[in-house]
Symmetry: D2
Subunit: 430 residues, 4 copies
C-alpha cells in the first residue's frame, strides 16, 4: 500500500457526487458506440492501461525571460517534487512515472528510489542539462556544450551525460534524453558542419556507454535558446543522429519544437516508418515553443498525432514503442492542476484515436473519397469520451473530477504552509 497525499475520502466524496451522471453518460456512450460497432469496455481497458510520464521540473512554476511569477507552495527540491507528482498520479491514475532532470534533481539515488516507491512511482527517462551552467561548473556552456568548439567543454558535457546514465541505472531508468541548446545567434558564428561533427562525436561517446537495455533519445528544436541556428534543428537532423548512433538511438518529438505550419503528425509517421520514433514531449503551442498545456490550443492536431500512434499500434509496426511524457511550462496555473488535465488530454486523444473506424478509413482512402475519409476522423474526434476517461480514473481509485477533488483536498494550501514563499523574479532581460 502506497502513501497518498490526498485524503481518499475527499476523492470518494467528490466521486460520489458525480457517479450517477457518469454512469448515465457512460451507459449512453456505450450504446452509441455499439451502434458504431465499437465496444466501449475494450476502449476503456486500453485507456486505463495508457500512462504518460510527468517531468519533475513541471511541478514548479515556469516563466519567461521577462519574468517569473512563482505560485505558493513551490517545491523546494526533488523530494517535494515527487510528492507533487504523487498527487497527480493519485487523482489521474495516469502518471505513474517521473522523469528527472540532472543536476536539478541530483540527490542520493537510494533516497530517490525510496521516496518514489513510497508513492508507488517509478522513474522514466533521465534528462541531462547542458543548456545552463551549474554552480561551480568548470567550463561554461555559453557557446555550446556537446557541440562546443572547445574540446574540454565537450568532454565535460559528455561526462555529465554519463553521470546521468549512472544515476539512472541506480534508480531504474531505462533511457537518456538529450536536448541541447547549442547553436548560434548570428550567421558565421559557427560552422554548421564542424559543430555537427563535434556533436556526433560526443554523442557517440555517450552512446558507447549506454547500457544495452537502454534507449538514447535525442530531441530536435527549431530555435531558442539559439536564435539563428540550432545544431539539432529538425527531425531531418535528428534522424541523421539516430542513424549515425545505432539501434538504441531514437528521435524524440516535442510538439512545440517545429517551424510554423509544419505537419507534425506526418513527421511522426515518417519516424515510425523508419523505426526511429523514440517518443514525445507533449504540450501545445500557438506561436513558438510556448509549452502550454497539452491540447489547450489545437486539440485536433493532438488527435491527429495519436491517430498515427494508434495506427502503428494496431498494425504492430516494427520497432514501435514510443515513450510518452508531458513537457510544459506552467506560468499562470497551478502546475499540479495543469499536469492533471494534460495527462487527461493525452489520454483523451488516445481514446478518440481508438474510435476511428480504420477499415472504413482505408476503404475511403483507396477510393479517393477525400471527404468521407476526413469525416471518418472527424466523427471519431467529435465523440465526447470524457465518460471513458472518468471511468478509467474512477475504476483505479482516482477522481472522476480530479481538479475539483484536488482543490477540495486543499493540498496546495497545505504545502504552502510548509514550503517557504519564493520571490518573484525577472528583470534585466528585455
Amino acid at each position: 500500500m502506497t502513501d497518498q497525499l490526498i485524503d481518499q475520502s475527499v476523492v470518494d466524496q467528490t466521486n460520489e457526487a458525480n457517479r450517477k451522471a457518469l454512469d448515465a453518460d457512460y451507459a449512453h456512450l456505450g450504446e452509441h458506440l455499439a451502434r458504431r460497432g465499437i465496444d466501449i469496455d475494450a476502449v476503456l481497458k486500453k485507456v486505463s492501461a495508457y500512462t504518460v510520464a510527468v517531468p519533475s521540473w513541471g511541478v514548479g512554476t515556469g516563466g519567461t525571460r521577462f519574468a517569473k511569477f512563482p505560485g505558493t507552495g513551490e517545491p523546494r527540491d526533488i523530494f517535494d517534487k515527487l510528492e507533487d507528482c504523487s498527487v497527480i498520479n493519485q487523482l489521474t491514475r495516469a502518471t505513474p512515472n517521473v522523469s528527472l532532470h540532472i543536476p536539478w534533481d541530483k540527490a542520493d539515488p537510494n533516497r530517490l528510489k525510496q521516496a518514489a516507491s513510497r508513492f508507488g512511482l517509478g522513474f522514466d527517462a533521465m534528462n541531462s542539462n547542458t543548456f545552463s551552467d551549474a554552480p561551480g561548473q568548470q567550463n561554461s556552456y555559453r557557446f555550446g556544450s556537446l557541440a562546443n568548439y572547445a574540446k574540454e567543454t565537450r568532454q565535460q558535457a559528455i561526462e555529465h551525460n554519463l553521470e546521468c546514465i549512472e544515476i539512472g541505472k541506480t534508480i531504474g531508468s531505462k533511457a537518456l534524453t538529450v536536448w541541447i541548446g547549442d547553436g548560434s545567434n548570428f550567421p558565421g558564428q559557427v560552422n554548421f558542419t564542424r559543430v555537427f561533427e563535434y556533436y556526433l562525436d560526443a554523442m557517440k561517446a555517450i552512446y558507447a556507454d549506454l547500457p544495452s537495455d537502454w534507449k538514447l533519445f535525442t530531441e530536435h528544436k527549431m530555435y531558442e535558446p539559439a536564435f539563428y541556428s540550432t545544431v539539432v534543428q529538425d527531425w531531418g537532423t535528428n534522424y541523421l543522429i539516430a542513424t549515425e548512433l545505432g539501434d538504441k538511438a531514437q528521435c524524440l518529438v516535442d510538439l512545440g519544437h517545429h517551424a510554423p505550419n509544419v505537419n507534425i503528425e506526418m513527421i511522426v509517421a515518417r519516424l515510425i516508418q523508419f523505426k526511429k520514433l523514440g517518443g514525445f514531449h507533449f504540450n501545445d503551442s500557438k506561436y513558438g515553443d510556448d509549452d502550454l498545456d497539452t491540447g489547450s490550443i489545437d486539440p485536433y492536431r493532438l488527435f491527429l498525432v495519436f491517430n498515427e500512434l494508434v495506427d502503428a499500434e494496431l498494425r504492430q509496426a516494427d520497432g514501435f514503442e514510443p515513450a510518452h511524457m508531458l513537457d510544459q511550462s506552467h506560468n499562470v496555473t497551478d502546475p499540479i492542476e495543469s499536469l492533471i488535465r494534460s495527462a487527461n488530454e493525452v489520454r483523451r486523444a488516445y481514446a478518440l484515436a481508438l474510435l476511428v473506424d480504420r477499415k472504413a478509413l482505408e476503404g475511403y482512402q483507396q477510393s479517393d473519397d477525400a471527404l468521407m475519409a476526413s469525416e471518418t476522423l472527424k466523427v471519431a474526434f467529435r465523440t465526447d469520451v470524457e465518460p471513458i476517461l472518468a471511468k478509467a480514473r474512477l475504476d483505479a481509485n482516482g477522481a472522476i473530477d480530479p481538479i475539483a477533488a484536488y482543490r477540495k483536498a486543499g493540498y496546495r494550501q497545505r504545502v504552502a504552509a510548509v514550503r517557504p514563499a519564493v520571490a518573484a523574479g525577472g528583470g534585466g532581460i528585455v
Copy 2:
C-alpha cells in the same frame, strides 16, 4: 569638454592606421556616386546628423528562459550603464541619448542628470516596467498590469507610469514608452474586449497626466510573455490605442514583434500616412522576438524600412518625427560591441536609403516597370557606404573601426577588474 572613458589616443592611433584606405575609398565612392548624380558630402552630412538612442538595459548581458550566461564586467547599476553607454557614443558618435527603464534604473534624478552630462549624454524616452514584479510590490503583475481584472492592480500600474513621467520630467526626457506583457496563455483565460477596455481606461489616465510637450509611445507585440493572446498584439490594435488617446499618442514599432512573413515596411508606411508612427525599437530576428543585433539577419528588410523613412523625410510628411532606439538582447556578444555595430547598421540603412534615385523610382512605378523599380532599390542597397559611415565617425572624433578601437583600449578588462563577476543563472524554467 566631456569625460571620455576610452583614451582618445588609442582611437586616434587606430584611425591613423585606417585613414589612408578610408580616404581612397571615400574619394572613389564620391566619384562613383557623382556619376549616379549623388553628392557624397550631402549624404555624409545627413548621416552625421543621424543618431539613435541606446537602451540602458542593453549594456547588460541578456539571456533566455533557459539560461543566462553573464559576461565579465557586467554593469552593477545605472551609473555603470551610463559609463558603458558613453563608450558607445564616444566611438560611434551616433548614440548621444540613453533610454531608461524604471524601476531598474531608479536613482536620484539629479545624480542621473549629472552622470549623463559628464559624458555629454542626454535621456531619451522613459520606459515603464509592469511585466515583472519589483521587490516589495503590493500587487503582482502575474495576471496583467494595466489590463488586469483587479482594479487596484491596474491603479498600481498607472501610478508606476506616472512616476516614470515624473522622473523623466526631472532628467529632461520627452516621452514615455509603454510596453506591457498583458494577455493570456489559454483560450478563455481573459475576455478580449473586457481587458482591452481596462487597458484603454488605464492608458487614458496616464495620458491625462502627460506633459503637453511629451509623447506617449505604445508598443505592440504578437506574443511572449503571453502565449495565447496579447492585449496589444499588432499595429491594428496599437493604432486603435493611439487614436483613442489623442495626438500625443503614437505607435512604436519593434522590428521583432510581428507574425512570421509580415511586411513590416508596409506597416511603417501606413502609420506614417495616418500620422501615428511614434518610432522604432531596432533589432533583428529570424524566428520570434529574437532581439538580435540590428541588420544581422535580414539587412535588406532594414533598408526597406529606412526607404519608407527617407521617403517620408524627403516629402516632409505631416506629423513625421519618429524616435529611433536600439532594443536588443545580447546573449553571446559583448553588449557594448553589439550596440556599437548596431548603431552603425542603423546609420548604414539610413545612408543606403538616401542613395535611392527617387525620381527614377517614381517614374518606374508610374509606368508599371516592376523590374527597374526593384532594381532601383537594389542599386542603392548594394552600394558599400562604409566609407561614408567611417568618415562620419572620424569627423566627429569617433573611430573609423570602433570595434577595433574598443578592444585595443581594453575597456572591458578594465571594468571587469572593478565590477564583481556575476554568477551564471538559469535552470528551473524549461
Copy 3:
C-alpha cells in the same frame, strides 16, 4: 412550394434509417445538457435559425496554379450553379442564400431572381472581380485595379463595382463585397502610400453610390496573388478603410487570409468592439489561403471564433450583425458535398459556442483562474452536438445524414449526364 432537385422520398428514406438512433442520442444529450443547466431545445431553436450563405463559384471544382482537375457534371453557368446550391440547401436547410460573383455570374437579373426563387433561394452579398481580366476588357488589371497607377484603370474598376451594385439592387442583395488582389511582387514596385490613397479615393467613389440600406464589405488578405505587398493586407488596414468610408463600411474576415500563428478570434473581438465586423468568409487552412473545408484542419479555432460571436450576440453588442458565408476551393471533393459538410461545421461551431457556461467563465476570468476558464471552453467544445444539428435538419425536412442522402439520390451522376465534361487544365505555370 419550391422545386426540389433531390427526390424527397430518398431523403425521407435515409432519415428513417437514422431516426431512432438520433432520437436516442438527442434524448440523452438533452439529459446531459440539462445537468449542465442547458435547455437543448433552446439551443436547437437557435441553431435551426442559423444560416450561412454559399458562394456561387464554390459549386465548381477549384484548382491551383499548377493544375485544375475538374469533376464530373461541372456547372456550366450561374443557372446550373443555382441548381447545385439548391441541393445544398435542400439537404442542410442551412444555406438559403447564394452570393454572386460578377462577371462570372452575369445574366439577366430577372432570370436570376426567377431561377433562385424557384428553389426558395435568395441572394447574399454581391462580389466584384477586378483581380482577373474579363474578355474584351479595356484596361488590364495586371498591375492593379482600384489601386492601379493609371486613373482610367481605377475608373474602370470603380464602374465595375457600381455595376455590381446595380445588379444587386435588382435581385435583392443588400451588400457589396470588395476583395482586390492589388499589390506588388517586388520592393519598390509600388509606393505603398500612393496606391493606398488611390484605393481609398476609388472606394469613396463606390461608397458614394451605395444604397442607404446596403453595406460595403472590404476583405483583407496578407498575400496572393501579390507576393511582396498587398494593398489591403491585414485587419489594421481594413479597419482604416472602413473608418475612412463611413458607417455602412465594415470589415470582412476570411479565416485563411492571415499571417502564420495570428490569433484570429482576437481580431474578431477587436472589430466587434469597434463596430466594424462586417462578416466572414469561412474556410480552413494549414499553410496559406488553402481554402479548405471549414473546420477540417483546426476545428477548435473555428469554435473560438464563434465563441466571440456568441458572446457578442448574447450581450447584444452595438452594431453587431455579421454576414456569414462559406468561401472555399474544392479541389479534391465534390463541391456540393464539401459545402454541405461545411455548412454543417459552421452550425456546429455555433452550437458548441452556445453551450459555453458564460457565467462560470466570467467568474473564472475575474478570479484569474486560467485553468478553469479554459476548461470551461473545452467542456463546451468536446460536447458532441451532432444530434442537435441533425435534428435541426430533420425538423426542416432536410437530411439527418445529408452526404449519404445526396449520394443515394445520384444527383451528380444525373447532372453529369447533361453537363458536358470539362477538360483538365494546368501547365505552363510553375
Copy 4:
C-alpha cells in the same frame, strides 16, 4: 559561330557607354580588395566560369490560381523558348544550359538539339510533369501520381519519367528532376506511410532505368498544390528518398519550398555533409512558394546559401557537385528580363561568398567571437561586386548593362510582331 538574336552592335554600343565607369570602378575595387588580401582577377575568373541553368518554362509569363496576365510576344513552343533563352545567355553569358519540362517541351529530340546548338545552348536536367493532366492522358493525377493509390496511375507516372530519361539521353541531358504535387488536402485522405511506400517503390523503378552517368534529383516542397500533407514535404523526407534509392540520387533544394523561418543554409550544409546535395532551384519569396526573382526579397539569405557552397567548394567536400538552376514565376515582369537579372544575382551571391575571409572566420569561430565572425560575413556581403559581374559579362561579349541592352535591341517588340497575343486567363478559381 552561334546565332545571336540580339544585334551585337547594340550590345557593343551600350557597353561603350558604360565602359569607362566600369574600368574606374573595377580598378578601385581591385585596389580595395587587394587591401583585404583578395586578388580581384582570381575572383573574376571564378565568377566568369560560374553558370546557372534557365528553365524553359521560365520564359513564359506565369500566374496564380486567380489570374494570368500574359505579356506580349509569349513563346508559342519550345523553339520560341529556346530563342528567348539564347537572348538571356547572349547578354549575361551566364546561362548556357536550358532545362526542359516534359510534356510541355516535347518535340523531335533532333530538332531540339539542332535548335539549341544553333545558339550554343546545351540541355540541363530533364523535368517530368505528373502534377497536371496532359490532354488525352489515360489516368488522372488528381489524386496523385507516383504515390497514387491506384497501381495503374503510378505505373503511368513511372513510364512518363522513363520517357523523360529517354528524351534526355538523346539531347545530352545528364539528370532527371522529379517534383510531384502528391499529397492530400484533408486529414485522413491518405495514409502517410502507405503513399510514401508507393512513392519509394515507384522511384526505385525509375532509378533502375537511370543511365549510370545520370543523376536523379528529387525536390521537396512543404505544401501547394496539396494543402494538408505533401508526400515529399521537407529535406528530411527528401534525404530518406535519396538514401533509399542510391548514390545517383540526390536532393534538390528549391529556396521557396520551406516552412516559415526555416534556416535553409543549414539544410544545405547538412546535405553537403551527408553527400546528398543535388542542386538548387533558385528564386526568392516572402510568404510561400512565391517564385519571385532570385535575391529580390532577402539577398542576404541567398548569400548565406552561397557561403555554404563556397565553403564546400574550397574544402573540396566529397560528393559536392551541385546543379544550379533558376526556377521562378514571372507574373509582372518580362520573363527574359527577370531571368537576366536573376542569373546576375546568383553570380553576385557567388562572388560575394568568394570574398569571405575564411581564415579569419574560422579563427573567430574557434575563439567564440560571435561578433567578429558575423561581421566577417557582413564585410564580404556589403562589398559592391557589380564591377566584377559586369566585367565577366563584358569579357565574354555579353552586356555591361544587359537589361538596357535588351530593351534597346527591341527583342520583345520584334517577337511580339510574330507571336500571336495570348488572352488573359483566370476566373473560376477563388
